[in-house]
């Protein structure tokens, strides 16, 4: 499956996932998976829970490694040995950022300030640069007022914004987002979507996992549908979203009872539309 801009056909893809199989606790999470992601593309990985999306993100971030197959990053094999080398490892961490689905996993420092400072300090940035970058990113994410707060005092929306800030401060070229809108209240969700929409044209490669079909067209140029550890379909968001049979088969769309204004109660699959 490909996510590359036709005009960049000759450019080296950011990621080439070749026939990757990954097993976790006796379960096959990824099954002979193939995927190519071009530079600057915004990719949405759709799939129900347990379909293998988050596992793929961890592999793309060099946190887990395939049992079979290989992953190339900018034309070079992404292996545990290479990541252990200071030069490649630190450069890779600067270029690729992962925002975890559960912000409590990511917010391990005692204050928001320490959390945002963690990445740059590990990459051994000069302290003055770290201080300046922290001020800038906190302002950009509108969380300056949370600077000295402890993560356990934050709401879910605030935690997600801090988690995103802690990754964005490194200005990664490739951003991996695991369910960025999950468990958010409507206002926090709209903040997150605004950020993803604004990032279009910014030159970053953004790979987002989600099962929120309502946001896919806004946040992605290409969409891949996961099912049972495999990619079963790929294409532009409009094409995928119109394939009702595919969405039902992959548990992304379901029928549930709802009430129309006329008082009629019935069930059928439907997508929610945004107002113009």
């Amino acid at each position: 499956m490909n996510s590359t801009n036709p005009s960049d056909a000759k450019q080296t893809p950011v990621y080439e996932v070749c026939d990757v199989t990954y097993r976790y606790r006796q379960v096959t999470a990824l099954d002979h998976l193939n995927l190519t992601v071009g530079a600057g593309r915004r990719v949405a990985l759709l799939g129900a829970n347990g379909s293998g999306k988050s596992t793929l993100l961890r592999i793309l971030n060099g946190l887990s490694f395939p049992d079979k197959g290989k992953v190339n990053f900018c034309g070079e094999p992404l292996t545990e040995e290479k990541l252990q080398r200071d030069g490649f490892g630190l450069e890779f961490r600067r270029r690729v950022g992962l925002v975890f689905q559960n912000p409590d996993v990511q917010l391990f420092s005692a204050t928001v300030f320490d959390e945002v400072a963690f990445g740059p300090l590990q990459l051994r940035w000069p302290h003055d640069k770290v201080r300046q970058s922290i001020s800038g990113i906190l302002e950009m994410m509108e969380i300056t007022h949370l600077k000295n707060r402890s993560p356990h005092h934050l709401s879910m929306g605030e935690k997600k914004r801090v988690a995103l800030a802690s990754v964005l401060i490194l200005d990664p070229e490739i951003l991996l987002l695991d369910e960025p809108t999950a468990a958010l209240d409507p206002k926090s969700e709209s903040h997150m979507i605004d950020f993803l929409v604004r990032s279009k044209g910014g030159g970053k490669t953004i790979i987002t996992t989600t099962h929120d079909l309502g946001i896919v067209e806004d946040i992605a140029d290409d969409t891949f549908v996961f099912h049972g550890g495999r990619i079963v379909a790929g294409g532009p968001p409009s094409e995928i979203l119109n394939n009702v049979a595919l969405l039902k088969q992959t548990s992304l769309l379901h029928s549930h009872l709802h009430i129309h204004k006329s008082g009629e109660v019935h069930a059928h699959p439907h997508l929610h539309q945004h107002e113009e």
């Binding site: 963690f118 300090l121 051994r124 770290v130 402890s150 993560p151 356990h152």
Partner: protein, 277 residues
């Protein structure tokens, strides 16, 4: 106090309430640490060194006047730092008196010296030297505990940890303690939710064996969650460049006010050592 308040309720209710108590206490401490008091304005490193400088002469002094003076100073600092006397009374003074009192209780009766009285009914005699040594112990512990609690109540816990760096505690130790503090609350909330959900589906009281089963099962689930969490946290650290060494950004700056307070602590400490010899 928490135990007395919760007596008469079932096992699940008591456990859940004790989680809430623990969280409430922490929130109180954090609220006090944000108040606009004297000690809150002092650099955490100065506070840590200053409080230590007062605790050592309090423990070493052989004069009631000196230890009493340091205790009064601690009370004065509490007042200037908006720390409630009620909280100090309940959480420090009474608790310390009961705990240390039990340890000091035999001293008046077993210490050799000038007999000054006799217990009615039992006929046990007590000596002035014994009373003095029990008094020293209680007063020393009360003073030291009050000073320690003042440090904790007027300083965010993470600043206390960072201040430990001034005592040459390794960065990795400070970081581990900070992360422990961070995740204790998450696990406390998880445990609280687990007990609440069990409570919401139960009627009546549990028998002893049922209580043990619930406690063991909950501990098991919590441990399993903790393992998963710690593994994910490690991955999240790696993802942002962690390679086995921790680097911290020290944002604290000593101001003139901090130097003056440090000088004050040093003078009082030196004077207490001198007078308490």
């Amino acid at each position: 106090m928490a135990n007395r308040k919760h007596r008469g309720r079932g096992f699940l209710e008591r456990t859940t309430a004790s989680f809430v108590d623990a969280l409430e206490r922490t929130f109180y401490a954090e609220e006090t640490a944000r108040a606009d008091g004297l000690l809150q304005r002092v650099d955490p490193r100065v506070k840590l060194l200053g409080i230590l400088a007062l605790i050592v002469p309090a423990a070493a002094a052989r004069s009631f006047k000196v230890i009493g003076g340091l205790f009064i100073l601690a009370i004065l600092l509490a007042a200037l730092s908006q720390v409630s006397f009620g909280v100090l009374l309940k959480r420090v003074w009474i608790a310390v008196l009961l705990f240390t009192g039990v340890i000091a209780l035999p001293a008046p009766f077993v210490t050799q010296g000038h007999v000054i009285g006799q217990l009615p009914w039992l006929g046990w005699t007590f000596t002035s030297q014994g009373l003095a040594s029990a008094g020293y112990l209680v007063l020393r512990v009360e003073t030291a505990a009050t000073l320690c609690v003042l440090l904790v109540l007027t300083t965010p816990w993470i600043d206390v940890l960072k201040a430990l760096r001034v005592l040459q505690v390794p960065v990795v130790m400070v970081t581990i303690l900070g992360m422990t503090y961070r995740y204790v609350f998450l696990l406390l909330e998880t445990a609280h939710d687990m007990f609440e959900s069990r409570r919401s589906r139960m009627v009546g009281k549990l028998t002893g064996s049922e209580r043990r089963r619930v406690a063991a099962a909950s501990a098991g689930v919590l441990m399993s969650k903790t393992f998963d969490l710690s593994s994910d946290v490690y991955l999240a650290m790696q993802s942002r460049g962690f390679r086995g060494e921790v680097y911290l950004l020290d944002e604290s700056r000593m101001r003139r006010f901090d130097w003056i307070i440090l000088a004050g602590f040093t003078l009082v400490s030196a004077a207490a050592f001198w007078w308490g010899r």
